[in-house]
């Protein structure tokens, strides 16, 4: 159990990058990028976990109970919402590229010079 979450993180990163590299469609690539971003959330929460710890909310448990790390949860929480907005920005670029060049294939788009 010591290293399983981190193996899963490495797997998600590699699988997502494989999807980006072998994809022929810009929107497909953006969705694989979402998968790669999700690996960071798993990594953050995996680093901060304490065995036998509870969630760091003390409204109904005594203050002395062992709890998991709240700082990485704060990071992951803002991360999730902000990266959704950045994904929307990426999609708007894809839409404009389609309107301008008529194609969403990254290999064909790479040949245009502006």
């Amino acid at each position: 159990m010591g290293i399983v979450p981190f193996l899963v993180v490495a797997w998600i990163v590699v699988v997502g990058l494989y999807g980006i590299v072998t994809s022929r469609d810009l929107i497909n690539q953006i969705m694989c990028l979402i998968v790669v971003q999700s690996s960071t959330y798993v990594l953050l929460l995996g680093v901060g976990y304490v065995t036998g710890g509870a969630a760091p909310y003390f409204s109904d448990i005594p203050l002395t109970t062992k709890a998991v790390d709240p700082v990485v949860q704060a990071l992951a929480l803002t991360d999730v919402v902000v990266e959704a907005a950045v994904t929307a920005l990426l999609l708007s670029f894809a839409i404009q590229a389609y309107k301008r060049f008529g194609t969403l294939d990254p290999h064909e788009l790479a040949e245009f010079k502006g």
């Binding site: 010591g2 494989y18 590299v21 909310y57 003390f58 709240p70 990071l75 803002t78 929307a88 920005l89």
Partner: protein
């Protein structure tokens, strides 16, 4: 480079990347053995200092409030950039939104929404807005906060669109109002921090009274206030994003 060569090259590089990852993870203390002093210290002091039982929100809006300002401005910039990128190009014209988004608009390519979707969506608008508002204002008591509450509040507006009424959606969330609300949310957060400066305290210090009972709605000082402002900013940003995409899909056409 052919796709097959590209794939093999990637697999070789990925093997190197995985090796580096495993080398890095072998240096970690293992899952469940969290050694760091900062998290334990925050857990010890947070409830006593801020009277907020939601320690994650206390970390987000007070102990690391400065980082949250930065994250919120990433969101703000993304929404603003999206509005700029999806502006009307020279070759496009905007059709008049005649009729509902389902048939007699003249496009004929958007199918009418079925009643099985419209009625539940309409029924859920009120409860969703209420839940989003509740989450955004109760950051200090339970697992909620401005970010989650804002997204759920935005989804209430999106449900209005899903219940078939794009015109109602547009009328209830005009772009000018959304821009103003988003600016108030982002500016409000910064203004709370600057007000602390005006009182000779460090930026974003918690200067409101922390309240008597830990975990009550009125306790925890500026945390609840900041969370509310963040909630309306996130909601306005996401409604803006959804509105821009909806306009692109439903209204804008290229002129012949």
């Amino acid at each position: 480079m052919t796709p097959g060569q590209r794939r093999w090259f990637f697999l070789a590089a990925a093997a190197g990347l995985v090796a580096c990852y495993l080398w890095a993870f072998a240096g970690l203390p293992g899952f469940g053995n969290y050694p760091g002093p900062y998290g334990q210290e925050v857990l010890r002091q947070a409830v006593r200092q801020t009277h907020a039982t939601g320690v994650v929100s206390a970390v987000n809006f007070e102990y690391r409030g400065f980082d949250t300002v930065g994250e919120e401005f990433i969101l703000f910039a993304a929404a603003a950039g999206l509005s700029v990128v999806l502006r009307r190009l020279r070759r496009e014209r905007e059709t008049e939104p005649a009729g509902e988004a389902g048939g007699e608009a003249g496009s004929g390519t958007v199918p009418a929404a079925s009643s099985a979707m419209r009625v539940p969506a309409l029924l859920m608008v009120g409860p969703t807005a209420l839940i989003g508002w509740w989450l955004a204002s109760h950051a200090q008591t339970n697992p909620s906060g401005g970010f989650q509450g804002g997204v759920i509040l935005a989804s209430a507006f999106i449900l209005i669109y899903l219940s078939g009424e794009f015109l109602a959606f547009r009328r209830l969330s005009p772009v000018v109002l959304l821009d103003a609300v988003e600016a108030v949310g982002a500016g409000g957060f910064v203004a709370i921090g600057l007000a602390a400066l005006a009182m000779n305290l460090p930026y974003l210090d918690n200067y409101l009274p922390p309240g008597q009972v830990p975990g009550a709605v009125s306790s925890s000082g500026t945390i609840a206030l900041i969370s509310f402002f963040v909630g309306i900013e996130v909601a306005a940003a996401f409604v803006l994003i959804a509105g821009e995409f909806l306009e692109q899909t439903l209204l804008k056409r290229r002129s012949a």
